[in-house]
Symmetry: C2
Subunit: 401 residues, 2 copies
């Protein structure tokens, strides 16, 4: 299936772009096939009631506008691009994707990273704590998560400089300093919060669609050696905070209705605020098929449908203590890994802690080398047997400065 067919009228993801003649002029766009619709210009041409938010230099005003506006704008844009009466006008505001520069489409408020794949958590537990239980006792009772660094969320294509830091070689008495030797990826799915919530007011499972605008792919670059030395007792910090790459295209939740699936069966009864087993709760899983490429070779195909905890449960958990949501909050699923070897979303798991390197044509890979390029892509079932493509996340490793 061509790239173009993955971005048809049932998809319509949002991004932020500029053109080489006006590099400082950032504009909202919607991807349509291999083109970008200049949203502000189109909204003005069609006299849209939402021309103000669509003419903004960031997605944040549209995010903040709330679900009714999201639905109205999505309907309008689809109409402009597909209705015979509008197509000629719309075509005047389509630019070839190949000629634009894409930017981080929204200002990230808080960034939270979860740990929601049972297969990933089990693999990591076995690798790091071979003598203990693979899963911690809390794992099946709450979606474990932590806050990450919002200021280093970068758009696809941004080079990733190999981080330096402390690591503790097992046979040396003191830590040493230098470039990370175990630089890794984590293939994840991110959720972008649009409508804010009040401090002190939890958002329930049924608030998911009112607050979450859309979905992005996310690569949570990880320096395993820095992380291993630093993370007890307060969690990951510098091993993760140097860069987190996201797709330039935010896929609206409404484009993923056909991809809704039931999550895996739960092994323990859940507390009421997390219990999505009731019939009236819509399925919380999403059937996204992710592909991880390293230097052009497919090294993994993690299935998002296997995630134990859903994005709606993560939202409910994140706010159950009264923490408020802001427009632009981003929360990620944690590494997506399925039950099979080829479905693991990190090199840590694919190479079992580096002990079983991948054989690539250019040589073995336990962890990333300078110059390596990683690309995440994904698609989901769309209406009528079609497919919804997600914007890819691309990043190349540069040597430490």
């Amino acid at each position: 299936m061509s790239d173009s067919a993955l971005f048809g009228p049932d998809n319509l993801p949002y991004g932020l772009f500029s053109t080489p003649d006006r590099p400082g002029h950032r504009r909202l766009g919607v991807r349509f096939g291999d083109d970008v619709l200049d949203l502000g210009a189109a909204a003005a041409a069609f006299g849209s009631a939402h021309a103000d938010v669509l003419g903004a230099p960031s997605l944040n005003p549209l995010l903040a506008a709330g679900r009714a506006v999201w639905q109205a704008v999505r309907g309008e844009v689809r109409d402009w691009l597909t209705d015979e009466a509008h197509r000629e006008t719309a075509a005047r505001h389509l630019l070839p994707l190949s000629g634009v520069q894409l930017h981080l489409p929204f200002e990230v408020a808080d960034y939270v990273d979860f740990y929601a794949s049972e297969h990933h958590a089990t693999n990591v537990g076995r690798i790091f704590r071979p003598d203990g239980d693979a899963l911690t006792p809390n794992w099946k009772h709450l979606p474990i998560g932590y806050h990450g660094r919002a200021g280093t969320v970068v758009v696809s294509g941004t080079p990733v400089v190999r981080p330096q830091g402390q690591r503790k070689p097992p046979n040396e008495p003191l830590p040493v300093f230098g470039p990370s030797r175990r630089l890794d990826i984590e293939a994840e799915v991110g959720f972008v919060v649009g409508a804010p919530s009040e401090l002190g007011r939890p958002v329930g499972l049924d608030g998911f669609r009112d607050h979450v605008f859309g979905v992005t792919l996310l690569n949570d670059w990880s320096a395993r050696d820095l992380q291993a030395w630093e993370y007890v007792p307060l969690g990951p910090f510098l091993g993760k905070s140097f860069a987190t790459s996201v797709s330039p295209w935010i896929t609206p939740l409404d484009a993923l209705d056909a991809a809704r699936v039931a999550p895996p069966e739960r092994d323990f009864p859940l507390l009421p605020y997390l219990d999505d087993s009731a019939e009236q709760v819509e399925p919380g899983g999403l059937d996204l098929r992710i592909t991880v490429e390293l230097n052009g070779h497919v090294i993994a195909e993690p299935p998002f449908a296997t995630m134990y905890w859903t994005a709606a449960q993560q939202l409910a958990h994140m706010t159950v203590n009264g923490a408020s949501l802001r427009t632009g909050d981003l929360y990620a699923s944690g590494t997506v890994s399925g039950p099979e070897h080829k479905q693991r979303g990190s090199l840590l798991e694919l190479t079992w802690g580096g002990r079983e390197p991948l054989a690539l044509p250019e040589g073995e890979r336990a962890f990333l080398e300078d110059g390596d390029e990683v690309v995440l892509s994904a698609w989901a079932p769309g209406p009528g047997g079609g497919r919804i493509g997600m914007g890819e996340v691309r990043g190349r490793v540069e040597p430490s400065a």
Copy 2:
């Protein structure tokens, strides 16, 4: 010493205020004694070259302007308030502090919380892991820290709603849900980043004064029961993310020159990026004397000068992996505890995990009850034997919703 004398011409902290007649009109102010100088109005009256940043509805433009502007503005303001030729004009823009509403003075970008007091970390280790080493092996080699929730940083006076969440009673097979029963405080000092840094470029120890604008007191409210159940393996999350209170007044670093002291002697040689033992490095410690009051009774007096890791080391560590700084980044010291019982900055430590409650006139306190009010205040030595007061941090506990 009166409150007024703590806020003399050598202090001049910055805040954001509004008046009852124009509640939506937020203006920058400088505290002077028991008054607030309306900075925008004064800058206009005196024809300041910095009238634009001083007329902004947030401290962020001044933060972003960098150290040369911080110093110039501080000199100007001091001049306006103390020079005979200017005092009459300045007086026209002074408002009584009692008549204004104070707001969160800056937009928080990323929030990081460290764990830099050896006494605190040792106490917590002994309480939670009585059979293990009190300090983890990494503790004396790097300043341990983690990202917290920036969106729930609130200004002094904001009520704190008791968080609900999961806790795991030791003798029950499953976690239970409800209001936290072990709500605690953490008396901390926060550092506010002004000038940003580039992704991929670490900020060294000598970059501290160029990047950090000022200091605030901070109460890192903590639900110990939620935290104990959730924090392995990825660190604190909901146990901390419901509220973090800061002072309405940001004390400029330049006001604390007389409070600079050498940090405690280090037990291990430090890696070069953290090594502040060289003679040309200015002393990284700060002699801030903190007072913690619970319902009007002094329950602790934590000495900030005892902190093992300095704010300059924390900044160098936080960026050594290439993570960038943004204007408005806030990082906190972690709980300040001294070697003596009365110097412990949390109820967890003061009551040794709740086992030795405090005797207050209104009854025993292991952890906070609904209606309890906590106030943090502090002062530091100023030039010529004077004192520099820090803005207090006040918060009252409200029952769960």
